[in-house]
């Protein structure tokens, strides 16, 4: 049994697959300020033979001295592999997670052809939505449904979390319906995300993964921006961990380690 572990900025996901690649376990815990403690918690009782770590904290896990062999994989390849398993025909993957957004173009056999990621700023990510939902005093899980009640999106100019908050607050003070403002915020993120997708060369079918894919308003607006309905997995948060587990299985079956085990300077 091989585990895929996706250590993100918001949550840690675990997916364990058996030798046939069937998912036997999927779990999720928040990352908190003690990611390694959370890793231990999420692994409790799972006992895999090997772990492939992905996400922001992949190197942290690799260096944690676990008694199971750990290799790493980037989020890009992990999400590509996960989406490919869930929707074998997938050609484009959009992942909007807690702290980053990525768009990935896949070629034949699920090869990564191109990808884009947001830079060091968290604009347009789950973190942004979470912060803004707080301004509306709504749990982030309900923010999408709330925004869908908006009749007309109020244009939002700023994608900076702090400025967007200021803008939302002054729009509210100006009497705009809060649902319309919420819709406007979602529309701004959808437009930005769609731009990233177009830059990698939009090709259907498009798979939408990551925690933000649970937000119905984002799914609807992204569909409108892209002019097609994205495929959303039942469990969009687990896509990266699933991809990592599948890669681990491929590695266990002798596929070459994509990381290239030796760095320059270490060879002969």
């Amino acid at each position: 049994m091989i585990a895929g572990l996706d250590v993100g900025s918001r949550s840690v996901e675990l997916v364990v697959v058996d030798a046939a690649g069937r998912v036997v376990l999927a779990r999720r815990v928040p990352t908190t300020f003690h990611p390694l403690r959370q890793v231990a918690a999420v692994l409790d009782g799972a006992a895999p033979e090997a772990i492939v770590a992905t996400g922001y904290g992949r190197d942290l896990v690799a260096g944690a001295g676990l008694d199971v062999p750990v290799t790493t994989l980037t989020e890009i390849k992990a999400h590509a592999a996960g989406a490919r398993r869930l929707f074998p025909g997938a050609r484009t993957v959009v992942d909007v997670g807690g702290q980053d957004t990525k768009a990935i173009r896949l070629g034949e056999g699920g090869r990564v052809l191109r990808f884009e990621m947001n830079d060091r700023c968290a604009a347009g990510t789950g973190k942004f939505l979470e912060h803004l939902a707080g301004v509306f005093q709504i749990p982030v899980e309900d923010f999408g449904a709330y925004a869908l009640r908006g009749a007309r999106a109020v244009p939002i100019g700023s994608m900076c979390t702090v400025f967007a908050e200021t803008e939302a607050v002054s729009l509210m003070a100006g009497g705009a319906p809060p649902e319309d403002i919420a819709l406007g915020l979602h529309a701004a993120i959808a437009a930005r995300t769609a731009g990233m997708v177009r830059r990698v060369g939009l090709e259907p079918p498009v798979v939408f993964t990551g925690g933000v894919a649970r937000n119905p308003c984002m799914v609807r607006l992204l569909a409108r921006e892209l002019g097609l309905d994205p495929l959303v997995p039942e469990d969009p948060d687990h896509c990266g961990a699933l991809g990592a587990a599948l890669e681990g299985l491929a590695r266990a079956n002798g596929a070459p380690d994509a990381r290239g085990a030796t760095a320059p300077g270490a060879g002969g």
Binding site: T74, G260, P264
Partner: protein, 423 residues
């Protein structure tokens, strides 16, 4: 060491801050360079030169000054070093690769200015660079808008001379550049009190061409798989070429190339054969800007070339040494420098071809385009280059960053994903 300290005091450096800078630099160098296994013997010279970057080399400059020679500082590969040498002066490239005093730099230039410009202004305002303080003249150039305007502000703080680099390569632009070369020659003659002769200029051309040739030889050796030298070391060599004594440097790199040749013959490398090979392309990486090369080579790839001014853009073209008249020599200089494919030119299609050709000759599996944040010319060309390379089936990753360390994790993720992609 105390001799050095006295020298730094004489140069009016901020001694305390300077000590701090050297300490950070030393540690950074240790982490990034000394940690490499199986390094070339010839790199000992580089380690030595770098450890004495603010010591012995500055002492040499001071000695040269005491003997009546002038020191000329530059920020751009457009400044013809041949003329400086022919006038008996020493030319040093000022590095501008560290995030130093950038808060102070914002007193002189706007916040949305690239890190390179902020760095040279920061170095000057915080009195941290013994090279800047040793210069009798600093040469600026009208390349990008950021630099052009920054020099206006910088002129109040340093003995600045500005060359007008044209924006196109039309006949009129070439004539302007030819005239600028003459004007620079006259300025150098005035500064040094020495007339530049045909013989001196021809000798200087030989010296500078010899340095270009040895760096060309180094690059050609990097086409081998396994790569015989790390990209970090090759970048350092290119960086040091800007301030070391040219003749000594050429001789040392010649020896290093002999060592590399033997390695290649034995099939030895710094990483196993088949390691993904990447070409870096874009803005210059000045000392001690080693961030991206380090990230790349810690991600299971090896760098096989630098398409930048601290790289092949500076060494690709030689000057024709054969003319026998001053006019002929100046024509040859003007022509050679107008071959530089800086993104400041419009159009600049030759750069697209040059990058593609370099990727092919170095057998690169992919190209990482590197632009400093707020650098318009290179950010624009990154988009264009992406299309050119895609047509040729060469994958490219475009990165924008600066000198700070806060985005290292994000860079790592992108670079690792790119390495996975090209593997």
């Amino acid at each position: 060491m105390s001799d050095h300290k006295r020298m730094w005091e004489k140069l009016n450096l901020d001694i305390e801050a300077h000590d701090g800078l050297l300490e950070v630099l030393g540690k950074f160098y240790g982490d990034i360079y000394m940690s490499q296994d199986n390094r070339l013997k010839g790199m000992e010279y580089m380690d030595f030169v770098l450890s004495e970057v603010h010591g012995l080399r500055i002492k040499e400059l001071q000695d040269a000054k005491a003997a009546g020679r002038k020191v000329v500082g530059t920020f751009c590969v457009f400044v013809p070093e041949e003329l400086t040498l022919a006038a008996g002066a020493v030319q040093v490239g000022l590095c501008a690769g560290a995030e130093v005093g950038s808060a102070r730099a914002e007193d002189l230039v706007p916040r949305g200015t690239c890190a390179l410009i902020k760095s040279f202004i920061g170095f000057k305002l915080s009195r941290l660079c013994p090279y800047i303080e040793s210069c009798d003249m600093i040469v600026g150039e009208t390349t990008c808008d950021g630099k052009k305007k920054a020099y206006e502000a910088f002129a109040a703080h340093a003995p600045l001379y500005v060359m007008e680099v044209p924006q196109t390569k039309s006949a009129a632009a070439r004539a302007l550049w030819r005239a600028e070369i003459v004007r620079f020659k006259e300025r150098l003659e005035e500064l040094t009190g020495k007339a530049i002769t045909v013989d001196a200029l021809k000798a200087a051309m030989k010296t500078v061409n010899a340095r270009r040739r040895v760096l060309q030889r180094l690059n050609a050796l990097r086409a081998a798989d396994p790569a015989p030298i790390s990209g970090r070391d090759a970048l350092l060599i290119n960086q040091i070429s800007f301030y070391d004594d040219p003749e000594r440097f050429t001789a040392k790199i010649g020896e290093l190339c002999d060592e590399l040749e033997a390695r290649v013959a034995r099939g030895q490398g710094v990483a196993p054969a088949g390691t993904p090979r990447l070409l870096l392309s874009g803005c210059p990486m000045a000392v001690p800007n080693w961030k991206l090369p380090y990230v790349v080579e810690s991600s299971g790839a090896v760098i096989v070339g630098e398409e930048s001014c601290i790289g092949t853009r500076n060494t690709r073209d030689l000057v024709d040494e054969t003319p026998e008249t001053m006019d002929g020599l100046l024509d040859a200089l003007a022509e050679r420098y107008m071959k530089i494919d800086c993104a400041c030119f419009t159009p600049n299609d030759e750069r697209m071809d040059n990058v593609a050709a370099l990727a092919a000759s170095q057998k690169a599996d992919g190209v990482i385009h590197y632009a400093l944040m707020f650098c318009q010319p290179y950010a624009h060309e990154a988009m264009k280059l992406g299309h050119t390379l895609a047509d040729k089936g060469v994958p490219m990753l475009a990165l924008e960053t600066d000198y700070s360390m806060e985005d290292v994790e994000q860079l790592k993720t992108r670079v690792e994903a790119f390495v996975e992609m090209v593997s």
